[in-house]
């Protein structure tokens, strides 16, 4: 136990502290921009980033992972904030935490393996598209100067890292262009036009909503979506860290930790968050490995806001928009284009449908759900092909069945038999088939009993153990006088 604490916290102190500082610097613009996407004051995202990072540092399941306010979560909150306001968002954040904690306790993280990669690829692509689209109102058709600021931002964030890497380029873009805007006294929209910054630590407060059923009905759908999307992104991020660092992590502990972090964040005026893919990769690349890196990121972020908060309101909006364009380009999975050409058609359809549904509904949770459902249906369709071959050996007529017999394949199965036969010796050979469910058993019953009506002698052979078990339990054909029941 002590040993584990020592490795998770103090085995990489210098690397963790430096990486944590880099992450805090890179986190500020994102936390502000995601608050603006959600439609709340920048402080809501900044408090959330501080609380979530600090809490997951202690109780998260994946050391070295950065959790804070994220775009995926912010996008889900838009309608709630627009229709009901901040207090309901805070209440929804509490409930999100409770749901995620339960997911962790019930070991739901294991179910992640049922989310096909086509859905995950669709998820990140849809996320990138939505983040990009959310920036359009902040720079398109405002003024020529706005475009200049966006272009300057992109030039800095993509060009500068070629020569200088010690400080994250987005922060340099913000500092340089904010100073340029102030010194040049230019007319340009700023963060201050969209919200206020308070230079104080978050304080404990209970969301100011009526605690009744009506409130629950309003926030529940949002909380469920937030809980699912938060876990999907966090567990994907955890897998990335696992791979980069060649270490394992506890996914259920991560779900519980994130639940507690979100629950607490709701009481401190922050919005629900989850793990951030981009920031986490920055952390690991900068040398962050342990829990200390996440803690440093959260604490240093808060420190910067306390010291520099007054300047944040003067950041020109197009600069933030430019940084978010970079974030969306980094989030998008560019290898999707070769995936479109190389992957199986059904996977490509699932990926595109996931993206399309998210973009139409503005809801990543619905996209994931639809994608999983569609791929389940396509999978069932793919394996439901069943073949019945008829051949005659030694006076017996053998029907050799090949494939999976379940609800989706029973019709094809029954239609494959020739029921004109009478007074024959028939064998149904299941040695290359598997009976999966009661519909499958019902179909076997139907075939056997139909042949018996034609005075045929029928035997079922070659069932594998699990098929035999379900047949024994459910089939009626063993009774020579059995009638077809209505399956």
């Amino acid at each position: 136990m002590m040993n584990q604490i020592k490795t998770e916290w103090f085995s990489n102190v210098k690397g963790d502290v430096l990486a944590g500082i880099v992450v805090a610097l890179a986190l500020i613009p994102e936390a502000i921009a995601f608050s603006i996407i959600a439609g709340v004051d920048p402080m809501v995202g900044l408090y959330a980033s501080f609380c979530i990072a600090v809490i997951t540092a202690f109780i998260g399941g994946r050391p070295g992972m950065i959790s804070a306010a994220t775009g995926a979560m912010a996008l889900l909150m838009v309608p709630l904030v627009r229709d009901h306001g901040l207090q309901y968002l805070l209440a929804a954040t509490l409930l999100t935490g409770v749901i995620q904690f339960l997911f962790g306790v019930l070991k739901i993280a294991k179910l992640m393996k049922f989310i096909p990669r086509a859905v995950m690829i669709g998820f990140v692509n849809a996320l990138a598209i939505l983040i990009f689209m959310a920036q359009i109102p902040h720079f398109v058709g405002i003024s020529a100067l706005t475009y200049v600021f966006v272009a300057a931002t992109l030039l800095i964030v993509y060009g500068l890292p070629r020569f200088f890497k010690a400080i994250p380029a987005p922060l340099i873009a913000i500092v340089v262009l904010t100073v340029a805007a102030i010194v040049g006294n230019v007319q340009i929209g700023t963060v201050g036009d969209l919200g206020t910054i308070t230079q104080s630590l978050p304080s404990f407060l209970i969301p100011n909503v009526p605690f009744n059923l009506e409130t629950l009905i309003i926030i529940l759908p949002f909380s469920v979506s937030l809980a699912i999307v938060g876990l999907v992104e966090s567990l994907l991020t955890a897998s990335i860290v696992d791979d980069m660092t060649e270490t394992g992590s506890n996914k259920n502990k991560e779900a519980r930790g994130q639940g507690i972090a979100n629950f607490a964040t709701g009481f401190f005026g922050g919005m629900a968050g989850c793990a951030m893919i981009g920031q986490t990769v920055i952390n690991v690349k900068s040398g962050g490995r342990g829990r200390l890196s996440t803690l440093t990121a959260g604490v240093f972020l808060m420190f910067l806001i306390l010291v520099l908060g007054g300047l944040v309101v003067q950041i020109p909006m197009p600069v933030l928009a430019g940084i978010m364009i970079m974030v969306s380009i980094g989030t998008f999975d560019w290898s999707s284009f070769s995936y479109l050409r190389k992957a199986p058609k059904s996977d490509v359809i699932v990926m595109l449908v996931t993206v399309a549904i998210v973009v139409v509904t503005d809801n990543l949770a619905i996209g994931v759900f639809a994608g999983v459902l569609l791929s389940a249906i396509l999978f069932a369709a793919k394996i439901s092909g069943i073949k019945v071959a008829k051949h005659i050996s030694g006076g017996q007529i053998v029907f050799k069945v090949q494939g999976q017999l379940f609800f989706a394949s029973v019709e094809e199965f029954v239609d494959s038999f020739d029921f004109e036969l009478t007074h024959a010796d028939i064998i149904l050979d299941f040695s290359q088939a598997h009976v999966w469910d009661d519909s499958g058993v019902g179909a076997v019953d139907k075939v056997v009993i139909k042949y018996r009506v034609g005075e045929n002698k029928v035997r079922v052979e070659g069932l594998n153990p699990s098929s035999e078990k379900i047949i024994k339990r459910l089939a009626v054909y063993h009774d020579a006088n059995a009638q077809l029941k209505s399956h």
Partner: protein, 139 residues
């Protein structure tokens, strides 16, 4: 003359060409060892995780990338071993060579144009600039 060659491999065709050069050099130098260094690029991990259902599939795909290189050395009676590490390819190759007394680094050139090189950064350029031993770039 060379006793410890480092061959940087990334699963591309250029790496296979580099492997053939490494083989040609090592075959005329008795006692020469080849260390095949396969760097898993940190910037591509997100993509690899996203495009594989689980860790098994990821390992399998990575090993598949190494097969063409293994083929080059198969049955050639040249002392070689494969090392797989994570990191940013350029610095990792340089650092690994310094720590393991490598006396020649061989790597393939991807043949990027000016724009690609600006965006992606040239691994061979970084290695040549910072390595402490001779570097052979195979075109």
């Amino acid at each position: 003359m060379y006793s410890n060659i480092l061959l940087a491999a990334d699963g591309s065709e250029n790496a296979v060409r580099a492997a053939n050069e490494a083989l040609a050099i090592a075959s005329v130098m008795p006692g020469c060892k080849i260390e095949i260094l396969f760097v898993i690029d940190d910037s591509k991990v997100k993509e690899e995780v996203l495009h594989s259902q689980n860790e098994e599939e990821r390992q399998y795909k990575r090993h598949q990338k190494l097969l063409p290189i293994e083929d080059v050395f198969a049955g050639r009676n040249i002392d070689h071993k494969i090392t797989i590490i994570h990191g940013d390819p350029g610095p990792v190759i340089v650092d690994y060579a310094k720590r393991n007394q490598v006396d020649l680094i061989i790597l393939g050139s991807r043949g990027l144009n000016a724009l690609q090189e600006f965006v992606l950064g040239s691994v061979s350029h970084k290695v040549v600039k910072r390595a402490a031993c001779p570097v052979m770039i195979v075109k």
